[in-house]
Symmetry: D2
Subunit: 158 residues, 4 copies
Amino acid sequence: MAGFQPKNPDYRAISIATFEAQRAMKTMGISISRLGPGEVDLAMDYSPEFTQQHGFIHAGVITAGLDNACGIAAFTLMPAGSGILTVEFKTNLLAPARGERFAFRATVVKPGRTLTVCEARAYAMHGGAEILIATMSGTLMALAPREAAVKAKALVPA
Amino acid sequence: MAGFQPKNPDYRAISIATFEAQRAMKTMGISISRLGPGEVDLAMDYSPEFTQQHGFIHAGVITAGLDNACGIAAFTLMPAGSGILTVEFKTNLLAPARGERFAFRATVVKPGRTLTVCEARAYAMHGGAEILIATMSGTLMALAPREAAVKAKALVPA
Amino acid sequence: MAGFQPKNPDYRAISIATFEAQRAMKTMGISISRLGPGEVDLAMDYSPEFTQQHGFIHAGVITAGLDNACGIAAFTLMPAGSGILTVEFKTNLLAPARGERFAFRATVVKPGRTLTVCEARAYAMHGGAEILIATMSGTLMALAPREAAVKAKALVPA
Amino acid sequence: MAGFQPKNPDYRAISIATFEAQRAMKTMGISISRLGPGEVDLAMDYSPEFTQQHGFIHAGVITAGLDNACGIAAFTLMPAGSGILTVEFKTNLLAPARGERFAFRATVVKPGRTLTVCEARAYAMHGGAEILIATMSGTLMALAPREAAVKAKALVPA
């Protein structure tokens, strides 16, 4: 799960730029805390605006963090000019998302030319303890540079 | 997939109240558009605050809608006083979440005393067309009334 | 979910041939009972050789049936010369696989040039009743004709 | 992921007995190669009877191995007299199941009174190399001793 060799020497800057182009991440208060080839950690503070009925963070927000961690981890290993799509993910919720801060840690399990499989874990920092609250396994798809350019043109926001 | 008999005669009011107790739903602009025994439709308008890098709605937000639709659909069939937890879900993303409005439609596949399995579909309304953009299958867990009361006490927001 | 137009006029023969080339299907006693564009039903008799500790059919065998139903359903819509791979699937087990006969019914949810998403359901025929025992959602991948030919050459059995 | 404390001092014998009561495992040639609290490795030799169209092991058989590894890993941590059911699992297929021997390695991620979440990986031993070919995340359910006894009585093989 270590020693991945990025194909794009500029992977760091382009991964950060792709992450920051997502307004949803800013709205949810999610940021990159660590980024390497095939490995990404995201961080999020507790926010009452994203809670469910017991005052904990909503599973959809936890999933958004896990999905983005997977997506950026996969993206670090793709060739320059690629686009990226999430194909599917599965989340197991292990404990309530109760805490002051949250971490989403993803690693690439198997990189591929078209499909990359990642795993991620979500942790809650609560009163000094770090608790595993959710896991994700997901499949990400690389859009070849030419395809990605065409899509980007077509994909003017609604 | 039809003809479910709710155990709680008050299922409608309690399901709506549980949905509305989730601040995340309000923040994301998601509301109930239809609710029956074992069946729930949610609706959401496009909001630029929840977009990814191409200006479409983020997969995590789509997942939050699908998860809530499943949760409330399962909840309509649970006995009075029950609590509800999501155990797991899997989402397949079929098309970009591009549209002016979105619908999340869930049905119970198999209700159970402890576990209930649901399926849901997300649709984008875009220029008059309705496009299937994502599917979910998920498992929800009922907390027995006594357990739910204990949890609710313990679960004061962080 | 209906009205799919096959790209390969010969889809029927090639789908059946691909199914029958799988010795595992024969060993498990699984056969095609219905096949149309984007839709496949498989059938299996109860066999004590494939049971778990309570004498019911093992979840892995049920999954093999569901996976094959999805794979062949996806395959019916692929261009002539394509190969097919399963990318991922998720199975929810709803009831014990207790019965004299079993059916696996798959439909394509979203066909694609590279990826196709399918859903399938497994039923047990037990004492005259038909019981839903498991669901699957899965992603299948088409190998382009050229790629498929290269792979077929490389893939001589171990 | 280490240091689990079994509740049943006899967990080893009962786990092995439960595994061996599954005829499907014997039919597929799957056996236990290592077993500890919350951790199980299974082994399987290549068999032409369980192949797909390219002569590799069928994904359903790989899934049967992964599911059983998860099930027995979860079972090692359950109280004496418990029964066990698989609730759901998701499998990502990473590479063709091409090899002379296969290993299925599962660990408990989160044990629980009712639900236990496990992860497992499948490896192919091919020409001296060990290749990761599939991953699973799954949810297992404990049946309380009384419930398990009632079910066992009811569950006479069809």
